[in-house]
């Protein structure tokens, strides 16, 4: 044995050495693999109407700040459909599928608003990269947000913010916003067939679950990449930066940020309303897991009583879902959405007095559970208002403000309202979200900050015959779209129903000259 080993060792060592040399030589001499992604020059007819940046570098995705990690366009083949991911990640798919993220690029209201904006400018489609960077990032990164779409659609074309768009993120700039995310859609993905994923799941996990990516997408910074939005001259008529959506900044300066409660803690908790109540009770323990529902405030897109109209509004049914399954998932998320909304706000009577034949009272609108302003986001269509009605002892109504006309879908024009207004260069209000002609953004009343309240004062003449005690009924309403916006954009008579966030009933002073 020893003899044989001594005899065969030299040729075996030589063989091993030669094999090593061969392997190294092959590695050195073999041509480098092509850099993943697609070069700008390889996308025919791609238009760059906004010119290069200050350093002279091309800005293929501008006015969105979205980027790929290697600066190249995404190969559509690398953007896999969520339906494919669902093969193994069924629970996550079922959570994500009814979410607004899943339909971000296809819901009819959004899609028509973008089309109307595109029609406002010669380079409208290219300008819409600003919108699509957050709503349909795969389309922008593949080079399809272009007047002439010379790139093949990906399997995830209609899926909005699909799996790959978050699980390849490497950088976010929440202060700049406007889609300021960098995604490793070219270098951070695997292209393994199903069998290989099953055989070597670690490679798949390394591709879509890199430590840096996992840490980033668990942070509020990541959300801020899109939930910070400002207009400038690239996509609007603004001559100075106009803040349109400040959700990240609202959170960043809040008690929630100070105490480490992130966006994901509430919006990805399995039961968001329960988690908000837990935090309100002082328990900051993190959720037991993070679900992919991204529960938010848009109750309309989960209103299954709309029937087929809801399918129309949501832009159809996602790949990988049946009609029945789609409806069931939407119904479930609708309950979570409504519960979350109800956990956010409160009403309190602060002062009340009768003096000089007039009734004066103040109502506090409280942000009790939202880690950002109430309302938040782009609130030129979404808005919140306060309805107050006062009755005397006989039940006669002596004051009413903020009524909603359910037949016409109109809110009392004199209501106390929390909304921002887009204005054109002449200062006129633009009611239908025409970003490309917006010059300034003003607030009717800014949103209520986290853990703060906005005190609203009312004063009304008392009819001579009115006798107390007076009963004040206050209701805080939220609506996801103005009727003007719905009508102008969809050309339908669909009344957008409001949602009651909070209600309170209070007894006011009884006498003609009384103070509480």
């Amino acid at each position: 044995m020893k003899y044989q080993f001594k005899t065969h060792l030299p040729p075996a060592a030589l063989g091993a050495f030669l094999a090593l040399v061969f392997i190294l030589g092959t590695g050195i001499l073999a041509p480098a693999p092509p850099e993943p992604g697609v070069e700008l020059a390889d996308i025919p007819f791609y238009r760059l109407p906004f010119g290069p940046d200050a350093a002279g570098k091309a800005r293929p995705f501008w006015p969105s700040r979205l980027q790929t990690e290697n600066g190249r366009f995404a190969d559509p083949a690398s953007i896999q459909s969520a339906a494919k991911c669902a093969t193994c990640h069924r629970r996550e798919f079922d959570e994500w599928a009814p979410s607004l993220h899943a339909i971000a690029g296809r819901d009819t209201v959004y899609e028509r608003a973008v089309r109307i904006n595109e029609g406002l400018h010669r380079d409208g489609i290219e300008k819409s990269r600003f919108c699509e960077g957050c709503h349909a990032p795969g389309e922008v990164l593949a080079g399809r947000t272009n007047r002439f779409k010379s790139v093949m659609p990906s399997d995830a074309e209609t899926e909005g913010i699909t799996c790959v768009m978050c699980h390849t993120a490497t950088h976010a700039d929440p202060k700049e916003g406007n889609g300021a995310l960098t995604l490793a859609v070219n270098t951070g993905v695997d292209r393994l067939p199903d069998a290989m994923i099953l055989a070597a799941p670690r490679d798949h996990a390394r591709a879509f679950g890199a430590a840096g990516t996992n840490a980033l997408i668990a942070s509020s910074d990541f959300c801020g990449g899109c939930h910070t939005e400002a207009y400038d001259s690239s996509m609007s008529k603004a001559t100075s930066r106009q803040h349109v959506q400040t959700t990240f900044a609202e959170w960043q300066g809040s008690w929630y940020a100070e105490n480490g409660v992130n966006c994901q803690d509430c919006h990805m908790a399995p039961d968001p309303a329960a988690y908000v109540r837990q935090v309100r009770a002082g328990n900051l323990e993190k959720p037991e897991r993070y679900a992919h529902n991204f529960v938010g405030s848009n109750y309309l897109m989960f209103d299954t009583s709309l029937g087929s109209n809801l399918t129309f509004l949501r832009g159809g049914i996602l790949p990988g879902l049946t009609d029945a399954r789609n409806t069931a998932l939407i119904a479930r998320q609708g309950e979570a959405t409504r519960a979350l909304l109800r956990s956010a706000a409160g009403l309190a009577l602060r002062e009340a007095a009768v003096a000089g034949g007039r009734l004066r009272f103040t109502v506090a609108v409280q942000n009790l559970g939202a880690g950002h302003n109430l309302p938040t986001g782009v609130v030129d269509q979404k808005y919140m208002w306060l309805e107050v009605a006062v009755r005397d002892a006989s039940g006669a109504e002596i004051y009413h403000s903020g009524a909603f006309d359910a037949e016409r879908g109109e809110t009392d024009p004199d209501a106390v309202i929390w909304r921002e207004d887009f204005r054109d260069t002449d200062g006129r209000r633009i009611p239908d979200h025409l970003t490309f002609i917006t010059a300034t953004v003003t607030h009717v009343r800014p949103g209520v900050p986290p853990k703060a309240e906005d005190v609203v004062a009312y004063e009304a003449p008392l009819p001579p015959e009115a006798k107390g005690p007076f009963i004040l009924e206050a209701r805080l309403w939220y609506r996801v779209a103005t009727q003007e916006f719905a009508y102008n954009t969809l050309k339908t008579d669909l009344i957008i129903p409001p949602f009651e966030l909070a209600a309170g009933k209070f007894t006011l002073p009884a006498g003609k000259e009384a103070h509480p």
Binding site: P44, F45, M152, P153, G307, F312, G316, I317, P319, G409
Partner: protein, 348 residues
């Protein structure tokens, strides 16, 4: 001479013949491009004239009451409501005709100004893309550079989106309530705008008649019209979803339009572009041709099923719509890639 030499010699001998055949086919295809465009131009003129007549009737009803909209509504409410309903339907038809050829009109330097006047131009208060025309109204007023006729003037006017044009809120559908869009609009502006629409539509048709399309025009036509086909399919899909509950803009099935437009696209490609593409990349040409066949097959099958009484559910209608759009997107991408290989430029 070996076999390879024979093939080479045959190819050299036949090449000029193939070139002539391709030229003939391209010429035929370009003629089809022009005919298709003219067909929709004529359709636009016809609808605009009907719209003008509808507005003239509406204007006369208001004028018969001295311009008193309340009095006119009290006396002729039902007729006015019916007129407005008709006017909106005619506007949609006219707009659909224009949208079908918009990409071509905007892409041809000789006709680009009509796109601004009819559909895409800004008012004179803007600094760019201004619709350079003035609009005379029946009362003698002349609106200086008022913006495009379809979307700046008539659409907001006819649907009550522009408060200034609303003369009287009125219960048009007789359901006992007056909701947004239920109103009598300014008859003077409406008639003037409809007259302008008819006048400029005719001018466009005249210039289109004189137009001599080239290969670039054919390419532009195919790449701008194929996605429009997807839009029409989408409208059909939505009409399945909404079953008449909402969405006054999609009252009819669009499958007929889809089939007509798709056939036109296939014809334009096969006759004007395919010979050029095949000479450079035969595989790409065959894939594009197969794409058109697949799309047309899908449309024809769906239309046949609808005609046979099939009522499509939301899930199936959506799947069909997505499939049609996906095929159309792939066709356009391949046609553009072929154009780049053939060094054919796009106009527009």
């Amino acid at each position: 001479m070996n076999g390879r030499g024979l093939v080479l010699a045959a190819a050299l001998l036949l090449a000029p013949v193939a070139g002539v055949a391709a030229d003939d086919a391209e010429g035929l295809g370009l003629a089809n491009v022009k005919e298709f465009t003219l067909e929709h131009s004529r359709g636009l003129v016809a609808q605009a004239e009907l719209l003008e007549a509808g507005l003239a009737d509406y204007h006369a009803l208001i004028a018969a009451h001295g311009g008193d909209y309340a009095a006119a509504w009290a006396a002729e409410g039902a007729r006015l409501a019916e007129r407005i309903h008709t006017i909106r339907a005619l506007w949609l038809e006219a707009s659909n005709h224009y949208e079908t050829i918009e990409g071509i009109v905007a892409g041809i330097p000789e006709t680009a100004k009509y796109d601004l006047i009819l559909d895409a131009g800004n008012p004179g208060t803007e600094s760019e893309d201004v619709a350079e025309y003035d609009l005379p109204l029946p009362d003698g007023t002349v609106l200086k550079r008022p913006g495009n006729l379809f979307h700046t003037i008539t659409e907001p006017l006819f649907w009550g989106m522009d408060e200034k044009g609303v003369k009287l809120p009125a219960d048009l559908n007789g359901d006992g309530k007056v909701t947004r869009g239920e109103m009598l609009f300014d008859a003077n502006l409406g008639l003037g705008a409809a007259q302008g629409l008819a006048r400029w539509a005719k001018a466009l048709e005249a210039d289109m008649t004189a137009w001599k399309p080239n290969r670039e025009d054919a390419l532009t036509s195919v790449v701008v019209m194929t996605p429009t086909v997807g839009d029409y399919f989408g409208e059909w899909k939505e009409s399945q979803f909404i079953s008449g509950e909402i969405g006054a803009f999609v009252a009819q099935s669009r499958l007929t339009d889809v089939e007509g437009i798709m056939s036109g696209c296939r014809r334009m490609y096969s006759q004007a572009l395919s010979p050029v593409v095949a000479a450079i990349d035969a595989d790409l040409d065959s894939r594009i041709t197969a794409g058109f066949e697949e799309l047309l097959g899908l449309v024809e099958d769906t239309r046949a099923r609808e005609a046979a009484g099939t009522k499509f559910g939301a899930e199936e209608a959506d799947a069909l719509g997505n499939e049609a759009q996906d095929i159309a997107d792939r066709i356009v991408a391949m046609v553009l890639q072929a154009a780049a290989k053939a060094d054919v430029q796009i106009r527009g």
